[in-house]
């Protein structure tokens, strides 16, 4: 590498001589409280001490709008190509924007060469500039390395003493510097240059090595972080318009007012806009803001790097600045996805209802989102200083504005939960685990068998079915409790029993004078519904104490149930909820991951399951 130094005033004179030459000279100038690339008429307008420009220099190689073809209306033989290219020198380009130009170069030269882009690019010289000012949204240090910005012809370093040091990167750069008064740098200047190249540090860093991004994002495609952020998305596309590596465009036809001639143009467009992926006939292949945000983040962190072996996001931070909703920063999104799997989010207790002497019913809300669970899933609930424990969710996903859990006071966490009052906050992780896939059993008959607390998770599925009652066949609910004082959800049981084509039967282990219903264990109810059940058309859901499963399943087998049509939920000690700690394993199955809901068929041969 060749190094030069030049005083700032000599550099200005040099730029002024360039302005008089045959290139258009573009450079960074001040605009209000920010900066833009503009055509220079005098070197004194140049402002190289800047944080970030509003738009990247891509606008010179891929104009906001350009004509691709001209034509006469109604005459296909009149299509004529249009390539407008101005030789230009762009001064003050930051390393990450140079890295972005490298990506654009590759994108427009890979496969079919895009002459419109390449002819402009080939006639340009880039004078880069190491940053002298911090920018709060920038994280380029996590995204690019020195090898990524070899697109520069020259690189300027502000040595601070009214002098620039210059790295001569290309032949074109050397020729250009030959026309200046720059002199060869001495060792001291080179040492000082190396020190000052990277004096400005990012305020933010990616929480993983850049190279891990493609694999990481592949696993994060369903991440709730995307949904949560997309809730605030305006689909304005500001993030992609200001992005130095976004190059998608929209092609359209423009006709003169005479209607005799026109042109085909291309204009900046981007995947975050609502109509970007909609096709003729009205189908939109990325219909929701979450679909679009997911695509954008994967394109930046996975698709582009895998395709071009260059960073798809260079960490300039323009998108984060441009986003009025403040959701766009890829760094924030990825770091949020990459947070510790053990980190709970805050939930607020809204309502408490006493159910029995030991059971209380709680409603919690999360900040800014619904829990987004499925019937049968569970969460881990934390109380700082006490600990964390798993609880099944008792409310249906159809219920908006908070989720409910029935919690029995049997341990230290549950005891602390019972001490909570409305307004108190707890930590929540989840939802976790498999679910009662009632949404897949449309039109089927359903048989719910609950023993004791087993009614709590089943209530989630039952209420889902009740809220979609027309979508299912006949519903049968069997519920058993120890005695009258231990009955759960009595009002809801009455409500369910009034639903069309629904039979609810209850039994108590120990009846009393006031109890007019059945007594005995839960299996005593099964013969009473034998005539009603068509096993080949019924899905059975069983949740209850461990001892209950064998007896109930034996009866269902006798009815003629296929093992695939029997679903059970297994209770185990689920300490971590994320398939790591090992406490919940049955044989080689992590119940917190593959369960807690299983088809009987899938665990029948397990030694440890039932």
């Amino acid at each position: 590498m060749e190094y030069k130094i030049i005083s700032k005033s000599d550099f200005r004179d040099f730029v002024n001589r360039l302005i008089e030459g045959d290139h258009e000279i573009n450079g960074v100038v001040k605009k209000g409280i920010s900066f833009v690339y503009d055509t220079l008429v005098d070197a004194s307008d140049l402002c190289l001490d800047y944080d970030e420009t509003l738009l990247p220099p891509k606008k010179y190689f891929l104009p906001v709008k350009e004509t691709l073809l001209t034509f006469k209306t109604g005459d296909p033989s009149s299509y004529h190509e249009s390539v407008e290219a101005t030789p230009r020198i762009i001064i003050g380009v930051h390393p990450w924007d140079l890295a972005a130009v490298a990506l654009l170069d590759k994108a427009f030269s890979t496969g079919q060469s895009d002459v419109n882009y390449l002819s402009r690019r080939n006639q340009s010289l880039l004078i880069g500039m190491y940053p002298t000012r911090a920018f709060k949204h920038r994280f380029s240090g996590s995204m690019i390395t020195d090898e990524h910005y070899q697109t520069a012809d020259l690189m300027l370093v502000d040595l601070g003493n009214d002098t620039y040091a210059i790295e001569v990167v290309s032949e074109k750069g050397r020729d250009l510097m030959g026309k200046s008064t720059a002199v060869t740098a001495d060792e001291y200047a080179i040492e000082s240059l190396e020190k000052r190249k990277h004096v400005i540090e990012d305020g933010m860093h990616l929480s993983m090595p850049r190279g891990d991004l493609p694999e990481f994002l592949k696993k994060q495609q369903q991440s709730k972080v995307i949904d949560r952020r997309a809730d605030r998305c305006f689909s304005c596309g500001a993030c992609v318009l200001v992005c130095p590596t976004c190059y998608c465009f929209h092609v359209e036809e423009e006709v003169d007012l005479s209607l005799r001639a026109g042109r085909r143009t291309r204009t900046w467009d981007g995947c975050m806009r609502e109509g970007f992926a909609s096709a003729a006939g009205g189908h939109n292949f990325r219909e929701t803001p979450a679909n679009r945000l997911r695509h954008r983040i994967l394109r930046k962190g996975k698709y582009l790097p895998e395709h071009f072996h260059l960073p798809g996001c260079v960490g300039c931070g323009r998108c984060a600045q441009a986003c009025v909703a403040d959701i766009a920063s890829p760094l924030e999104i990825i770091n949020e996805m990459n947070r510790s799997i053990y980190l709970p989010e805050v939930a607020t207790l809204q309502k408490i209802k006493n159910m029995t002497d030991k059971d209380r019913f709680f409603e919690f809300t999360l900040e800014g989102r619904e829990l987004g669970h499925q019937p049968g899933q569970f969460v881990e609930l934390s109380i700082p200083g006490i600990g964390e424990a798993p609880f099944s969710i008792s409310s249906s996903p159809t219920k908006q504005g908070g989720f409910e859990m029935l919690i029995r006071n049997v341990g230290k966490v549950t005891e602390a939960v019972h001490r909570l009052e409305p307004g108190d906050q707890v930590g929540i992780r989840g939802p976790f685990g498999s679910h009662f896939a009632v949404e897949r059993y449309l039109g089927k008959d359903l048989l719910f068998i609950a023993g004791g607390l087993g009614l709590a998770p089943l209530r989630s599925a039952i209420n889902y079915v009740m809220d979609n009652r027309g979508s299912y066949g006949q519903v049968t609910i069997l519920s058993g409790a120890r005695d009258r004082s231990q009955r759960l959800f009595p009002e809801e049981i009455t409500r369910w029993s009034r639903a069309p084509d629904t039979l609810v039967l209850e039994t108590l282990d120990h009846g009393d004078e006031e109890w007019t219903g059945q007594t005995g264990v839960i299996t005593t109810l099964l013969p009473m519904v034998a005539d009603r059940i068509t096993p080949s058309d019924t899905k059975a859901f069983i949740v209850g104490p461990p001892v209950m499963y064998r007896f109930v399943i034996r009866e269902l087998e006798a009815f003629g149930f296929d093992h695939k049509d029997i679903l059970v939920s297994l209770e185990r000690r689920m300490e971590c909820g994320v398939g790591k700690c090992g406490h919940c394993q049955i044989d080689d199955i992590y119940v917190c991951q593959e369960g807690p809901v299983f088809t009987y068929d899938s665990i029948r041969e397990s030694m440890e399951a039932l």
């Binding site: 605009k31 209000g32 409280i33 920010s34 833009v36 509003l54 738009l55 906001v64 209306t73 809730d231 605030r232 998305c233 305006f234 689909s235 304005c236 596309g237 500001a238 318009l241 200001v242 359209e252 006709v255 003169d256 007012l257 005479s258 209607l259 900046w268 806009r273 609502e274 109509g275 803001p289 600045q321 441009a322 009025v324 909703a325």
Partner: protein, 250 residues
Amino acid sequence: MSTKPKVAFFDFASCEGCQLQIANLEEEIIGLVDLVDVVEFREVMTEKAPSYDIAFVEGSITRKKDEARLRDIRERSGVLVALGACAATGGLNKLKNVRGNLEQVRRDVYGSDWDRPHLETYATRAVGEIVPVDFQVHGCPINREEFLHVVEAFALGTNPEIPDYPVCAECKIKENVCLFHLGQTCLGPIVRAGCGAICPSNGVGCEGCRGIIPHANRNAMKDVLAEHNLTVEQITEKFNLFPLYPEVTP
């Protein structure tokens, strides 16, 4: 006989500023009259015609008796285009609807003469709330280039393409410093582009004259405005200046 489409202009409650935009097209007006036959345009000519291929209707409907005239225009027109904010969404004229009491509105506006019969008024309706509208040209006033594009598209027999993305996007391309970064507020994130972000480019936050984009995220807009220290009343006022609640109809 001419085969050019016969075009007519009509106005209801409005400032007629949108028609003025067309009358002021200058050079392009020559191109326009090459393209179409203007058969009725009260602002520039006195002739009348029995039927039209394209009728441009400016203004909103604020009196019961306007409905019959509008229906008559509709019947005699092939294509009916709502011209400008008043016609397309009800525009500023709908401000009175959110005040509720129309008698008080008349007292405020006309003072002691408020109950004269010719000052009759009812809750403002957009043209499309009375008769079917084939197309809308948005804005207060309309954008001349967009108007020409619409006429041209009809002459070519295609559908005009107008932006379904918000002003915010146009503003970014103009390289404006975001008004939110200057301590101001703006409805640019939810309002339909096509104006070239003219207000924010001149330092004034978007007020929404072009109406909202399809599936506009109004909740996020309210959150953002609240985060920039606007009160609920101020936010409601902003959303009501130009009706950004299309579902609020009398």
